[in-house]
Each structure stands twice: as C-alpha cells, then as structure tokens.
C-alpha cells in the first residue's frame, strides 16, 4: 500500500512538473532525485514551486485580460451555444435515423428540408469550432505560461456554466430519454466542437504554425461565419428553461433575433467575434512592423 501511494505521488509530481518550464523541470527533478525526495513529498515540493511561479505570472495584467475577455464571457456563451446545438440536433438526428421511413421521399420538399438541416447544422458547428479555435489562439497569445490554467478554467465554465438548466428542446422528453442523447451527446459536442479546437488553437500559437495570410483569411471568414450564425447564437441564449441569459421576446413574427422581437440580441455576436478581430489586428500590426 505504501509503495502504491509513493508511486501515485511520483506520478503526480511528474504531472505537476509539466507546468514548469522544460529546463527548470529537469533541474528540479534532478534535485529531488539527488536529495532522495520522492512520492507525496516530491509532489508537494513541485506543487509549491508551481504555485509560486503561477502567482508571479498572474501578477501581470495579461492573464487577467484573458480571463475577463475570453475565458468567462466566451466560455459561458459556448456553454449555452453547445447546449442548444446538442439538444436541437439530437432531435434532428433521431428524426432522420430512428423515425425515418421510405414515405418521407414522397414529401415534395424533402431535399430542400434535408439540405437546410444539414446546412444549418454544419454552419453552426463550424462557427462553434471557429470561435473555439480563435479563443484558444488568442488565449495562448495573451497568457503564454498561464495558458493551461486559463484553458482549465475555460473548460470548467464550458462544462458547468449551464449546469441545472435545459433548453426548450428537452420538452420532447422521448428524444432525451436515452443515456446517449440525454447525457453523453452534449458533453461529446462540447469536447469535440469546443475543447479540441481551442486546444488546437493554443497549439498553433505556441508552434507559430499558421502563416499570417492564413490567419488573416481565417479571421475574416470567422467574422462572416459569425454574422451567418448569429440567429443560432441568439436562439441558444434565449430558448432555455431554468437559468438563461435573456428571456425570449419573440414578437409578432415568432422568431428570435428579428427586428420585431423588442430585444435585439445581435450584440452577443460581438462578444464571439472579438478573438477573430484580435487575430486580424495582430496580423495587420505585424505587417505594419515588418514593412
């Protein structure tokens, strides 16, 4: 038992050491090996150094800007948006898989309807991934060495931000009775359409693997995509039960986000678009500096 606990401590110490700079990580692990410190004591020693290093880094303003401008607002928005995407498309997926039969093809509008569902699903999924990638990229640029703490906080807000709430799609209880669509699917969507792109965005910044031209083009495309996906974003903020950001005031046309709904929600899109704007400005600034 003692040996198992010691090994767990060693594994945790190695994990904690990954938060240190590579050169310091080697030195510290060498010191601990030389002093014969291992297990839980090694873990606490490394954790102490990591805490001091992080405290020093967080005395700068940039990590706080990352938290205030990206982690909290965009993390929360994406929590709402993925909640809506997962629930809305859980119903569509089940309609076109479980409930489909050959008589559907007799309905004259079926190609258009299917194309519309596919197009809007792809558009909003692309927007989710794009917002997440851009957020990860800007997060890494604002807080290079605090990035992992910031992304962990981002994940926490993404997964827990809408805990205890539901979308109106859940009124269709039959569609969410199963464990997959009721529990697994929303988490899977958050992981695949938000966390993976955000981590990839961080990785791209750290490796400087994206050319300036590609960055600028991608940022412009994301701004256009945000404009196209604005109704989806607005729906995700309003069509909920329990705690939600803004009550739906649909107006006579019974649609969210239109001029008659007495509560235009387009400013929400501005929040989502700012990482793309920041990327665009940084590429423009680099062009100015190099010329």
């Amino acid at each position: 038992m003692g040996e198992v606990m010691r090994r767990i401590g060693c594994v945790l110490a190695d994990l904690a050491a990954t938060l240190l700079e590579p050169q310091e990580r080697d030195v510290v692990r060498g010191d601990l090996a030389e002093c014969g410190v291992s297990g839980w004591r090694a873990f606490l020693e490394v954790l102490g150094l990591v805490a001091r290093r992080q405290a020093a880094l967080w005395s700068d303003w940039r990590p706080w800007i990352a938290v205030i401008a990206i982690v909290v607002p965009i993390g929360l928005m994406l929590s709402y948006a993925t909640r809506w995407w997962a629930d809305a498309y859980a119903i569509d997926i089940q309609i076109y898989t479980r409930l489909w039969d050959i008589s559907y093809l007799k309905y004259p509008g079926w190609p258009r309807e299917l194309a519309l569902v596919f197009w809007s699903g792809t558009l909003s999924a692309g927007a989710l991934a794009g917002w997440s990638w851009a957020s990860g990229y800007v997060l890494a640029s604002l807080s290079r060495r605090t990035g992992w703490i910031a992304i962990a906080l981002f994940a926490l807000i993404l997964f827990l931000g809408t805990l205890g709430t539901a979308t109106i799609a859940r009124a269709n209880a039959g569609a969410f009775a199963g464990h997959f669509f009721g529990v697994v699917f929303p988490r899977l969507i958050r992981f695949c359409l938000v966390m993976l792109p955000a981590l990839w965005g961080m990785h791209c910044f750290q490796r400087a693997s994206v050319s300036r031209r590609t960055l600028a083009t991608g940022a412009v495309a994301l701004i256009a995509l945000t404009a196209a996906a604005a109704p989806f974003l607005e729906s995700s903020m309003t069509l909920g039960r329990g705690v939600y950001l803004s009550g739906a005031v649909l107006g006579p046309d019974n649609a969210v986000g239109t001029a008659d709904d007495l509560r235009p929600l387009w400013p929400i899109s501005l929040v989502m678009v700012w990482p793309a704007v920041a990327i665009l400005l940084s590429t423009w600034r680099r062009v100015s500096v190099s010329s």
């Binding site: 050169q23 310091e24 080697d26 030195v27 510290v28 692990r29 060498g30 010191d31 601990l32 090996a33 030389e34 002093c35 020693e45 490394v46 102490g48 150094l49 990591v50 805490a51 001091r52 290093r53 020093a56």
Partner: protein
C-alpha cells in the same frame, strides 16, 4: 542593498560551496545550518530574485548519474552579491553589539 534573511542564507551557502554551488547542494547547506526544511519552491524563486538583482549568476551545469542524467543549476556570487552579503553581515553584527540573548 538590504537583503532578506533567506537571501542572505542562500548567498552564504553559495559562497561556502564555491564551484560546487547548485540548487540541491545549497538546499542541503541551508537545512543543515538552520535545522529547518528548505522548500524547493522558495529556493528557486529566491535564486531568480537574486539573479534579477544581479547578486548571483546561474547557468546550467552538466548532468550527473545520481540525478538521473538531469542537469544542475549552478550558482556563483557576483561582486555585487559579495558586497550585499558583507553589508548584511556587518549590519547584523553592528545591531547585535552589546546584546546578550538570554531569557529573563
């Protein structure tokens, strides 16, 4: 430049160790002298601070087998560090003059 007591302990340990001054050895010296544990977090953040103040110079040493092939962070006092430690030591001596540490 006035030092903190831990900074003074580190400068003194590094001076005593000479060419063999590096993280783990300084830590051992301080623990032997004070009888108290020296946290690695305190050690390396203080080394950074002393280097920022220009009181020490550090560089990466060669890896050794007893360290699992990992390098050492070697430490050497700069002339400014020697001056700062000397000032601190003299200040402690002056302020202690005539004081007898006995419980009444």
């Amino acid at each position: 430049m006035l030092l903190g007591e831990f900074e003074y302990l580190m400068l003194t340990a590094a001076a005593r160790l000479g060419d063999e001054a590096y993280g783990a050895a300084i830590r051992q010296e301080i623990e032997d002298a004070t009888g108290a544990p020296c946290a690695i977090g305190a050690l390396y953040t203080t080394l950074d601070r002393l280097e920022d103040k220009g009181l020490i110079k550090t560089w990466m040493g060669d890896p050794t087998p007893e360290r699992g092939g990992r390098p050492k962070r070697m430490v050497r006092l700069t002339p400014k560090g020697v001056d700062a430690a000397t000032s601190f030591y003299n200040a402690v001596r002056r302020v202690s003059r005539g004081v007898v540490w006995a419980k009444s």
